[in-house]
């Protein structure tokens, strides 16, 4: 490993401007709460998780993450490089990660598109790395408002080839702090890139953060490039021109993905015990949905929240179980409806699935969500009153 690993951080590093002095001063201080921006908390969580190297390129709305790293990493003797592009940044990450270093890269949607190429190479060569996407509204240059319109990109196919990456979606800054450590853990355990997706709100908002930092144990493999002293040379690569060999490599990857599906599904449920309806939402949309659930319950509508924390692997079995007990499901996203496709696949027509979303950097209000929920309930009740009306899974 590199010389830059400080475990849970040095005893008393100098405190940069705006950085609470307590942040790395031991366990009791670690439980204090400070007001932090999401981008800054994610950056500090990576540092406390033992991130050896960070590579980035400025883009709104994640620039504070890069700036935090620019201050903190050098003072800890670790690596920070502002690259010439997102292509440069993620390929620097590829090189550093290939030597066994713990590496993170962050960007926002347009920059994430540029990183797709190297992500595919890293998935193919089994190179661990954590990539944070603070999503903004697209397509194209789009806008700088919050969005969840990169769900397809994150879960279905960022770059080329048959690969998947675990995708973690925090709904609060506290949860983001925890999931950053989880992301490094998964990356090294499964030798894969891992994505953490936030959105402009989560990145820019300030809220009290518990500073429950965690430093995952390092898993050093017998694959890292350290110089072939006293051992045969190692190669970190994805190329294999012999179809049979490449298929075997792909089958190994798919085995790994089955393992991840089996062991790494994460989700959260709230007020689903007696629920007749469920809202499915993640990230910032889940926080709006939570408010909508509270308002609906005040009005006597029994509704609960199902919140995927891993977008891949998607909690499909868990959601399927919920769908057996509710009359209908409403999916809420900051997009035109991307995750809702996975919701429908999981529900398999057992109940109607409706969708409500906003685009362009807009966030639905709790009342909007409540309205969509009432519309779904009305439709379900009309269908129940007239058996001739079969539900259509909410597609119309």
């Amino acid at each position: 490993m590199t010389a830059h690993h400080e475990g849970s951080g040095p005893a008393s590093p100098p405190s940069p401007a705006g950085m609470p002095a307590t942040i790395s001063a031991g366990d009791s201080a670690r439980r204090s709460r400070v007001l932090m921006k999401g981008n800054e908390a994610i950056a500090e969580a990576a540092i406390q998780a033992g991130c050896d190297a960070y590579f980035g390129y400025p883009i709104t709305p994640q620039a504070e993450l890069l700036e935090w790293m620019a201050r903190r990493m050098p003072e800890l003797g670790r690596v920070f490089v502002q690259a010439e592009s997102e292509l440069g940044a993620i390929n620097m990450a590829l090189g550093a990660a290939a030597t066994g270093a713990r590496v993170m890269v962050s960007s926002s949607s347009p920059g994430i598109s540029l990183m797709a190429e190297a992500m595919s190479y890293m998935a193919g060569s089994g190179t661990p790395m954590v990539l944070v996407n603070v999503m903004r509204a697209g397509p194209g240059l789009g806008g700088i408002g919050p969005s969840q319109s990169d769900y397809f990109q994150a879960t279905k196919g960022h770059g080329h080839g048959d690969y998947r990456v675990p995708v973690l979606a925090p709904a609060s800054i506290d949860e983001a702090v925890e999931l950053v450590a989880t992301a490094f853990e998964l990356a090294e355990k499964y030798r894969t890139p891992v994505m953490l997706v936030a959105d402009g709100i989560l990145g820019q908002a300030m809220e009290p953060v518990s500073l429950r930092f965690r430093t995952p144990e390092r898993r050093t493999g017998d694959w890292a490039l350290t110089g072939a002293a006293g051992r045969p040379p190692r190669i970190v690569k994805s190329i294999d021109l012999v179809p049979e060999v490449l298929e075997r490599r792909n089958l190994d990857l798919q085995r790994k993905y089955r393992e991840i599906r089996r062991h790494e599904v994460r989700w959260d449920e709230w007020q689903l015990e007696d629920a007749e309806y469920a809202i499915v939402a993640y990230g910032t949309a889940a926080r709006v949905a939570r408010s909508a659930v509270a308002r609906a319950r005040e009005r006597g509508i029994k509704v609960g929240l199902f919140r995927p924390v891993t977008l891949w692997p998607f909690p499909e079995r868990e959601l399927a179980r919920v769908s057996q007990h509710v009359h209908g499901i409403l999916t809420v996203e900051l997009s035109s409806g991307q995750m809702v496709e996975d919701v429908r696949l999981a529900v398999e027509g057992r109940c109607p699935v409706a969708f409500h979303g906003r685009m362009g950097g807009l966030v639905p209000t709790p009342d909007e969500v409540l309205g969509a929920l009432k519309a779904l309930r009305g439709k379900v009740q009309r269908a129940a009153a007239d058996p001739a009306l079969h539900h259509d899974g909410g597609r119309s």
């Binding site: 690259a83 090189g95 060569s125 110089g227 970190v236 690569k237 190329i239």
Partner: protein, 289 residues
């Protein structure tokens, strides 16, 4: 060059004879996938000799390109990482920054370095990354079937410039090593050739110098090797070498383009113009008969 230093007992000479030429251990004992007459094999060999002479193989982490040299890891027995097309200098930057003790080497062709990877090479050079870049310029995309490269000569026929490279439509060849040499982060930049034994000796001296720059804590060092592609050029190997000596070397002048090592240059060769005498220690390198 002390020849016996890298014979490592694999090949022993009879008692009354002295072994003067052997395969360096770091060069794999196998035939390559390169086409007959291709210059990559010679350049691999030179790299193997230089790495061995500088005792670098155990510390080396090399970055492979996309292109004909994508399988370089099959021939040079050091740690390798495969870079996406053109990204080798960025990948090498990542390695450099987390492994200050490693010897970091990139090996790229002209499509990789001078077309798709221009941003990465320019900024690695601008940052003065302490890496050694080997740039093989044969003026063509060999692996994909001989298409025009940014380095293709004016008038040269390729599969994507079937009537010859026409500057009003296809622009002019890029002397990218001269462009890079302007950057203060570049400690050493030179251009050599594999056209004949004399040129190969000088090229080796340049490669050795570019490696020493890294060992001595200098900045970015690059050696461009103009090389031949008989198949892509539609020539016999001998014709291609004559072409390399003639029109190609006129378009891409040989010699040291910049040397900012100053007094620290030391006795090793390579800092002199290629037109000068071959460096001591490199003159003994001869192509295999």
């Amino acid at each position: 060059m002390t020849i016996d230093a890298h014979s490592s007992g694999r090949t022993s000479a009879p008692a009354d004879q002295r072994l003067i030429y052997a395969r360096p251990e770091v060069l794999a004992d196998r035939s390559t996938h390169y086409c007959p007459g291709c210059g990559h094999g010679v350049i691999h060999r030179l790299l193997a000799e230089v790495l061995t002479e500088l005792e670098l193989p155990a510390h080396t982490i090399a970055v492979a390109p996309v292109g004909c040299a994508v399988f370089a890891y099959d021939y040079l027995m050091v740690d390798w990482v495969e870079a996406p097309h053109g990204r080798a200098p960025a990948v090498a930057t990542g390695i450099r920054r987390v492994r200050p003790e490693a010897f970091v080497l990139t090996y790229q062709g002209d499509g990789d370095l001078a077309a798709i990877g221009t941003a990465e090479i320019v900024h690695a050079a601008a940052r003065g990354e302490r890496i050694t870049a080997i740039f093989v310029n044969n003026g063509i995309y060999g692996m994909t079937g001989g298409q025009m490269a940014p380095t293709t000569l004016l008038g040269q026929k390729t599969t994507s410039s079937p009537s010859g490279r026409e500057p009003s439509l296809m622009g002019y060849p890029i002397r990218i090593t001269e462009m890079l040499a302007q950057l203060p982060g570049v400690t050493y930049a030179a251009r050599g050739s594999v056209a004949d034994a004399s040129q190969i000796g000088k090229l080796k001296a340049m490669i050795k110098k570019a490696c020493r720059v890294q060992i001595d804590g200098g900045g970015f060092a690059i050696v461009e090797a103009i090389s031949n592609c008989p198949v892509g050029w539609n020539m016999t190997p001998q014709e291609s070498l004559d072409h390399l000596r003639g029109p190609v070397a006129r378009a891409y002048p040989l010699g040291v383009i910049v040397d900012r090592t100053g007094a620290a240059a030391g006795p090793q060769a390579g800092s002199q113009p290629a037109g000068g005498p071959a460096a001591p220690g490199s003159a003994s390198v001869q192509p295999e008969a």
